[in-house]
């Protein structure tokens, strides 16, 4: 270096400041990068929060219901004793409501038609059943209480507002006046919507519930569990403990890994082509749904079981073999019981996934309208996620809140299953 002292130090200072600038820039980049990462997490989690809040806010109103109690005079002249089923109870209920409102039906029945739009047809069924049970009540006045029709219910929930122009809402001014009057008279009660949990699908939103779908889901999951868990566990035990390592085992292994990633809708096509067309399993039955979902859950169960079998240390096996146990005794008496918590966790998670699966079930006819609770595994049934799909497609607005509520029920079941899996893992998992 032949340069003068002062310029050198000036250069140095310059270099120093350039270096500091660069460092600052690098640290700024560092901060930015870190911020991007944090933002990504925040975005992902806020999506979760938005999703769940939206569903809860949309669905929570389903759990309250507005019902009304009405005194209906059972006029013998209007009841055909020989043909109870054919009697028009709805119009008697409507007239009773009109009487309560201090109105009278005109000759064309316009007003009673309008009242029918406010009161659930459930009242008519209740009267029918009451008379069937005790025909002596004909001629007396009975008190029945039941839900308001979906649109009237939505009015009380604030979903239908008077401020909306009359032609754009489902209720006209007169109907809203009546509802206000009924409410002022204290006849309208707000309560917990028990019917949502005790009834099955219906074309009337106020009478539609999830019971049928919950039972259908339970039956289907039972079939899935009974097939997928034993077969999956045994297949995994074979592959992990018994199978000779070789080409054949490799093929099975690659096969299972690929099966786990086949789109679920393809399993629906399999169900349609194989189980329905070739084997004649009844359409839309829990048995068929369970079979299809079992095939879908099988790879997951196998993979989970294999990894928990792998986690059992070889010393356990060797100790058992060393004291004279046979191979299957070593596996079934020692290795498998020790791997059981992992197996159960994996199986429950696979079943929880199967519970939420919808697409393959659409292929095998589970979208049909099933009004009751399925009584047998071969009968037509519907399941919770499909019920969600069906209601989402319905045009009535009242079904939309029910869709969200059905989703809440579905999520509660999934959370329960996941919680069980987590507890099992925490409680029994052993680290070697």
């Amino acid at each position: 270096m032949t340069e003068a002292a002062i310029p050198v130090s000036a250069d140095k200072a310059k270099a120093q400041s350039a270096f500091e600038k660069r460092l600052k820039a690098r640290h700024a980049t560092e901060q930015r990068f870190r911020f991007y990462g944090l933002m990504a997490i925040v975005i992902a989690l806020s999506f979760l929060a938005i999703l769940l809040t939206r569903i809860v806010t949309q669905g929570v109103s389903t759990f309250t219901v507005h019902s009304v109690a009405i005194e209906v005079p059972l006029d013998p002249a209007r009841i055909d004793r020989t043909n109870l089923e054919g009697t028009n109870f709805d119009i008697m209920v409507a007239d009773a409501v009109l009487a309560k409102l201090g109105e009278k039906d005109d000759d064309f029945g316009t007003k009673s038609e309008k009242v029918k739009d406010l009161i659930s047809p459930d009242f008519g069924f209740q009267l029918l059943n009451m008379i069937k049970a005790n025909p002596a009540i004909i001629g007396k006045t009975v008190s029945v209480s039941g839900p308001l029709r979906a649109n009237a219910d939505l009015y009380f929930k604030g979903e239908i507002k008077r401020s909306t122009p009359e032609e754009e809402r489902k209720l006209d001014n007169q109907q809203i006046d009546w509802l206000t009057k009924l409410n002022a008279s204290g006849a309208v009660k707000t309560g917990f919507n028990v019917a949502f949990f005790t009834k099955s699908d219906s074309t009337e939103p106020e009478q539609a519930g999830v019971l049928g779908a919950v039972v259908g889901s339970a039956m289907m999951l039972m079939v899935t569990a009974l097939l997928a868990v034993p077969i999956g566990v045994m297949a995994a035990v074979y592959l992990e403990e018994f199978a000779p390592k070789g080409r054949w085992t490799d093929i099975i292994e690659v096969n299972i890994n690929n099966l786990a990633a086949v789109p679920s809708i393809v399993y629906g096509l399999l169900g349609l082509g194989l189980f329905i067309n070739a084997l004649g399993v009844p359409r839309s039955s829990p048995l068929l749904g369970g079979l299809v979902l079992a095939l879908m859950a099988l790879p997951t169960v196998i993979i989970a079981t294999r990894s928990s079998l792998k986690a059992v240390p070889p010393s356990i096996r060797e100790a058992a073999l060393g004291v004279g146990a046979s191979r299957s005794q070593a596996v079934f008496h020692h290795v498998l019981p020790l791997a059981m918590p992992g197996v159960m966790t994996g199986s429950i998670l696979a079943l929880a996934h199967a519970l939420g699966e919808t697409a393959p079930l659409l292929m095998i006819g589970m979208v049909s309208f099933v009004p009751g609770v399925p009584a047998a595994f071969t009968e037509a049934a519907t399941v919770l996620p499909v019920q969600v799909f069906i209601w989402e497609n319905a045009s009535e607005r009242a079904f939309h809140e029910r869709t969200a509520a059905a989703i809440m029920v579905l999520l509660v079941f999934m959370i329960l299953m996941n919680a069980v899996a987590i507890i099992l893992r925490r409680r029994f998992e052993r680290r070697w």
Binding site: A44, A235, Y238, F242, G356, F389, T403
Partner: protein, 491 residues
């Protein structure tokens, strides 16, 4: 598990026989055990195997063949009966169409079961034939059932007679039982292979029937998709309605949008979780992301259709109204008419669904990059982000590419979100604001509701399914290859 419901009584009978078989094999278990013990002078010490193995050996041979027969009879008895029934058609129905004949036989079988027949009114000779056939059906059914039960009895007794005499103290019962067990285990593992074969066969079989009417070239490259036209009997197939290219384009568009959302967000989440987050943040964030992954797809579909869709539409419409009469009048006009169902909504929501998938796979891969590489980079004075960008990501790149491929395969096969939010119009477009349709949506639409298995409309769903299966399979194979190859390098 009766596959063909024969009325409650018949179900009861099957269950009774089943439990009788179970009880009988329990009895033979006890017999075998007792004989083994007796032959060793009452003490287990003189036996080759533990006494339970002798019992199990006998009980297996008694119960399993008979139970298998019962299962087969319950599963396929109905079809066998049907085949016998239609073998000889009565003269009265020779003039009927195929559907009428099917209905006739179905009614005959329903009558035989004492169930409600269809509302078709039969008269004259046809009615007589129906009554006769229903009696015949009942006869066949009873014969099949009784035959099954009798054969089951024979099998169970034969099992007992073959195995019981062989039992003595020197008999290697344990080895016999264990070979049973290992065979059963092997059969279970073959189920997975059979499933794959079943998928391939059922897809290929129905697709082959479809390709008889529509050529594969037309299917894969045609641009006109309107399968509903082909539904009429008089213009079966080849009416130009089976060009699936718009569906592939729609699927691609939705997948692209989904990956544009899930890719960056998922990857950056993974980087943050793996490199920056402390143990507490990890312990909180990872399970929460798993919750996002556990939400059923139908819930995402609901969210897309009733929340995101209207939100986007309102946003674009408002933007369009602002632009109208301005410099971008045409664009404004277009935006003000955008509908709820658009590729963007389905893609964005699908992207949200894929975030946890991308992030957890990438997280695993980033974590498997050896710490030594990072330490080397830090020692050279690199900052954390420089290390991530210049060292960790290049090392993890193949694995991350594999993860992205797996996510793409998920996006292509995803059904519910697109069914509920994308729409049904097959359009060849790359505009994310348009309504598009995808392969999976079309499969669902074609196969829900009534199906006739001879129309190309229904069969085309299987051709679409085959395409989907092949594409996702290829993506998975490549992705798994890449991920595995990459893992081996550092393990």
């Amino acid at each position: 598990m009766p596959f063909n419901p024969d009325g409650r009584q018949a179900d009861m009978l099957i269950w009774i026989v089943f439990f009788a078989l179970a009880a009988f094999s329990g009895l033979t278990y006890w017999l075998g055990r007792r004989k083994a013990l007796a032959s060793a002078g009452g003490s287990a010490a003189g036996l080759h195997s533990l006494p339970n193995y002798y019992g199990t050996y006998v009980a297996l041979w008694v119960a399993v063949p008979a139970a298998l027969l019962l299962f087969l009879s319950v599963s396929f008895g109905g079809r066998f009966e049907h085949a016998l029934l239609v073998a000889k058609a009565p003269v009265a129905i020779t003039g009927m169409s195929v559907e009428q004949k099917q209905l006739f036989y179905r009614d005959a079988e329903a009558m035989a079961e004492g169930k409600q027949a269809s509302e078709v009114i039969y008269e004259g000779p046809v009615k007589a034939a129906l009554t006769q056939k229903s009696l015949e059906a009942k006869g066949y059914r009873d014969k099949i059932r009784m035959g099954t039960f009798a054969l089951m009895g024979v099998l169970a007794l034969a099992g007992l007679l073959l195995t019981y005499p062989r039992i003595n103290a020197k008999f290697w019962a344990r080895n016999r039982v264990e070979s049973w067990i290992s065979n059963v285990l092997m059969i279970c593992s073959i189920v997975a292979v059979v499933t794959t074969l079943g998928i391939i066969l059922s897809l290929v079989w129905e697709s082959a029937r479809f390709f008889q009417t529509v050529s594969p070239g037309e299917f894969l490259l045609g641009t006109h998709w309107s399968p509903q036209i082909g539904m009429r009997d008089d213009q079966v197939g080849s009416s130009g309605g089976f060009g699936a290219l718009p569906l592939f384009a729609g699927t691609f568009l939705v997948m692209l949008i989904a990956m544009l959302v899930a890719g960056p967000v998922g990857l950056f989440s993974a980087i943050y979780l793996a490199e920056y987050a402390g143990p507490t943040a990890r312990a909180v964030c990872k399970p929460l992301l798993e919750v996002l992954a556990g939400v059923p797809t139908v819930v995402y579909g609901f969210f897309a259709a009733l929340t995101v869709g209207p939100l986007f539409r309102e946003g674009f419409n408002a933007l369009g109204l602002m632009l109208i009469n301005g410099q971008f009048h045409d664009l404004g006009l277009y935006l003000s008419q955008v509908q709820n169902q658009m590729a963007l909504v389905a893609g964005a929501v699908m992207g949200i669904m894929l975030i946890p998938f991308v992030s957890s796979l990438s997280d695993d891969i980033i974590n498997s990059v050896p710490q030594a590489l990072r330490d080397g980079s830090y020692a050279m004075g690199a900052t954390k982000s420089e290390t991530v960008k210049n060292v960790v990501l290049p090392a993890a790149l193949p694995g991350i590419a594999g993860a992205f491929l797996l996510a793409i395969s998920r996006a292509v096969g995803e059904t519910m979100i697109v069914t509920m939010a994308a729409g049904l119009q097959a359009k060849l477009t790359l505009n994310p604001l348009e309504t598009v349709t995808t392969v999976t949506v079309q499969i669902v639409t074609l196969l829900t509701g009534d199906q006739e298995f001879d129309s190309p409309k229904t069969l085309s769903a299987f051709a679409l399914g085959l395409t989907l299966f092949v594409v996702t399979l290829l993506l998975n194979i490549i992705a798994l290859r890449i991920v595995q190859k990459y893992r081996e390098q550092y393990d």
